[in-house]
Symmetry: D4
Subunit: 76 residues, 8 copies
C-alpha cells in the first residue's frame, strides 16, 4: 500500500469548501484544516504508486481555489 | 487565555488597508506592517482555543487582499 | 479532541530510530518516514490542548537527533 | 520608537531556558514559545534603531542554543 | 557547457500542458512533473551562460501558467 | 545612512519592466534580475529609516507585477 | 522505471567530497554541485519504488556531511 | 562581467567575524550584516563565470561559522 500526505495552501476563506470537496475523493483517509504554514492537510492511501499519483495530479490539484500543494510520500 | 501570532503576506500596496481592517476585529491586541519575509504581523488573545480558531478562520483569513497566513500558536 | 500533525527534520540516517521512539509515545496515532521537504510526519490526538502542547514540547522535541519540528494544529 | 518581532528556531528542548533568558533582556516586551514553523517569538521595543540592532545582534543572537533568527522590523 | 536545473511551481492542473510546452524548447534535456515542494523540474544545457540565461528568462519564464521558478546553476 | 536589500518575486516575464521601473526611483543604488529563489534584487540607501520605509512601502511594493518582497535591513 | 531528484544542503566546503561519494552509488544518473538555495542535485533512476526509497534512505542520507535532503519524486 | 549576491546564515554571534573575513576576499564588492531571514549579504563581481564559481565554492563557503549560503546569480 502507498501512502502520502499532501499539504495545501489555498485561497483565503476557501478551506471549508476544499475540505468538503476532498472528502468525496476515494482513497482520501484524512483531511483537516490546519494552522501553521499550510492551510489544509490530506492523507491518501492507495494500492499502488500509480493510483497515488493519479489522485494527486488529477483530483486534488484540480480542486478549485487550491493555490499550491506540497507532497510527502511515505517511506513505509 | 489562548494567544497566537499570525503573519500575513498580502497584495502589494494593501498593507495599510489590511492593518486598518484588522484593528476593528475584537481580540486583536497588536497589528503592524513589517519588513522581512512577511508583510503584516497580528497578535490575537482569546479566552479559549475555539474563539481563537474562529477569529483566524472566519475573520483574518477572509480579509480582502490577504494572500496567505502563517499562524504561530503560543505554548503558554 | 485536539489533533496536530508534526513534521520533523532530523539528523541524516536517524529516521528509523526516531520513528521507533515516537511509536512509544502515548497519543501518537501515526508516524511515518517521508520523502519531500521533511523527513518524518507524526499525528497526535489528545483530549485537550494542554496535553497536546505537553507531548510536542516535552516528548517529541526532546527526542534525540530531531533537528527541527513544524507543527500544524488542526482547525477542529 | 522602534519595534521588531524576532522569531527563533532553537535546539530541541531548549525553549524554556531561552524564554527565561530572553525575559531578562531590557526592552523585550513579549516572549513566548510557539507552535508552527518557528519555536519562539520575541517582541522588542527601543527608543531608536541603533538600540534595536544592538539588542538583536549582541544579546538575542548570542543566547545559548539559539540556532537561527528571523527578524521582522515594524513599519512604524 | 553550462547547465541549470529549474524548478517550477505552476497553476494547479497545468503540469501536463507546461511539460509539453517545455519539451519543444531547444536545449531542454529533461522535464518531468514532480511531487514535493515544486511541481515540475527542468534540466537545460547550453554552450554558454548567455544562452542559458536567455532560455530561462525569455522562454521558460514566459510559459503560460508558470507561477514561479527557482534556478540552480550547476557548478561544473 | 540606512541601507536595505529587497528581493522581489514577480509575475513571470515582467522582470525587464520592473527593473526599468525601479531604476527611476530615487535612492535605488542597484537593481538586477537574478536567478535563484528570487527574481530581482534591489539595493536602497537613504539618509534615515523613515525614508527607507517610505521607498519600500510606497514605491517598490506599488510597482505593477511585483508579487512579493523580502526585505533585508542592513545592520551597519 | 521510477525517477527522483534529490537536492542536498551540506556542510560548507564538503560539496566536492559528497559529489564524489554520490557518483559511486548505483542508479545515480546525475550529480552536480549547484548555486541557489541548495548545494547539490542528484538524479536517481530505479526499476521500482522500493529500490528508490532504499537508495535515498540508506545511501544518500547516510553520506557524511549531508545536512538535509529534499526529494522530488517524478510523476512518471 | 559576472555578478552574484550571496546570502549567508551563520552561527549566532559570528556575523562580525565573518563580515571581517569576507572583506579580505578579492572581488567582494559589498558585505553587510542584515536583519530578516538571512544574516549576511555579499556582492561579488568577477570577470568571468569560472572565477565567480571559484570564489563562492572555495572561499565564501569555506569561511568558518558559515552554516548555509543562498546564491543569486545576476541576469547580466
Amino acid at each position: 500500500m502507498e501512502t502520502a500526505y499532501i499539504m495545501i495552501n489555498c485561497e483565503m476563506g476557501a478551506e471549508g469548501a476544499i475540505v468538503d470537496g476532498v472528502k468525496t475523493i476515494d482513497d482520501v483517509k484524512e483531511v483537516s484544516g490546519v494552522f501553521g504554514n499550510y492551510d489544509i492537510i490530506i492523507k491518501v492511501e492507495c494500492s499502488d504508486i500509480e493510483d497515488l499519483r493519479d489522485i494527486i495530479t488529477r483530483k486534488i490539484r484540480h480542486l478549485d481555489q487550491v493555490k499550491c500543494t506540497t507532497t510527502l510520500m511515505c517511506a513505509n
